[in-house]
Symmetry: C2
Subunit: 233 residues, 2 copies
């Protein structure tokens, strides 16, 4: 029976796709892929490319990143409707997503809209933050330690409390929030314990150990994450 | 040049190994694998099995799980010494680890001991908690939400604060700590918002939605994790 597959394709390196995802990608009839800006080629698609069959139909769809919730919802509803029609017509349909489909992915919304209408399956992917920890050779967590993943777009109090509570904190999407993040790291005396990674596991990867030299004006890519570790190995 | 590879092989399903890990596993000369109990076959090894070459030498080594830090350290030192000798003799050596090598893995200790003596590379793996979230069809985190991963072996205050602070909390190793975990979930009125998964992504997988029926006497496997979500989709 035809299904809808949500497929995590990892942080950037095509070899960090799972064996299961690579097999499914090859078997699919149609793939939907998000296009952040109109007519720009999807990063997700270029990662998945080595596994795609010749017969695959690619439907690149625009997901507005900056828009009212109402506009976003309309777009998700419309794409979900298309997907349901394709699956009901007997096509195996995939939606590919950077990293893992259950960690900050638009896929969650689509799944929620269409899960009662068609059969679905979600395939986990390597997250950007575990990939970064491997690159750095720094464990996210050991023994009785805890860690948290917090987007820098949240309120200051949540970041502050998380930095107090956990041994390791992953701060996502820091690029446009250095005015909030840097003073917090300074307050907790963790500037020197912070690793910064841009474009994890791609050609453009950039790594910093210690962010004392960053300032509020520093220009960083959208795909920039910090790993703040109280105990560096 | 010969290297030491730390390889994450995911939560249980051999197809959830990455393409990179599957290629490296096939290329290795020697593999080290932890044996939790003496003479028991390593779960990690059975997951990696489809990718191992005929010529591979398997060195199953005992890692004491319950022992003083001193005893553990002696064992890590001794295994690290063996690995360094193998790599210096020109062998490509791998250490396989369940889930991800940077999340609660003994590999972190080995890496720390031998990283200055030989070349090393760490390959990330699918974590048990992202795999569970995919199975459940429940996102770990969306938009401006945050999540934390906390072992139930830590102090009550850390679990309590994490349940207060984050939208989603993954509680690891809950099996022998229900006496602490269940009252906390009750206090936060989250018993009905808790998913429990044992043996994720294996034949023995067991899932519960809502843990109101668990009590302190309930017998759970060591590989049991809870995902506590304030907002269930």
């Amino acid at each position: 029976m035809a299904k809808f597959y949500g497929i995590g394709i990892g942080p950037g390196d095509s070899e960090l796709v799972t064996v299961k995802a690579s097999r499914l990608l090859n078997d699919l009839d149609i793939i939907y892929t998000p296009e952040a800006k109109k007519r720009s080629k999807s990063l997700a698609l270029s990662i998945a490319e080595p596994y795609l069959s010749e017969h695959l139909e690619i439907k690149q769809r625009h997901f507005p990143m900056i828009a009212s919730l109402e506009v976003k919802k309309e777009q998700w509803e419309s794409i979900s409707k298309e997907i349901v029609e394709d699956v009901k017509a007997g096509k195996n349909v995939g939606f590919i997503t950077l990293g893992d489909p259950m960690v900050y992915s638009t896929y969650s919304y689509l799944l929620n809209i269409l899960k009662n209408d068609i059969e679905t399956q979600t395939i986990p992917g390597i997250t950007s933050f575990t990939s970064m920890a491997s690159e750095l050779g720094q464990p996210l967590t050991m023994d009785e330690e805890s860690f948290a993943v917090v987007p820098a777009t949240t309120d200051v109090e949540t970041m502050d409390e998380a930095l107090k509570l956990h041994d390791t904190v992953v701060l996502m999407k820091v690029a446009n929030h250095l005015d909030v993040v840097l003073p917090l790291l300074k307050k907790h005396q963790l500037l020197g314990n912070t690793f910064l990674v841009s474009h994890a596991s791609s050609d453009k990867q950039m790594v910093m150990r210690g962010v004392e030299d960053l300032d509020v004006e520093s220009k960083l890519s959208y795909f920039t994450t910090m790993i703040v570790k109280k105990h560096i190995l």
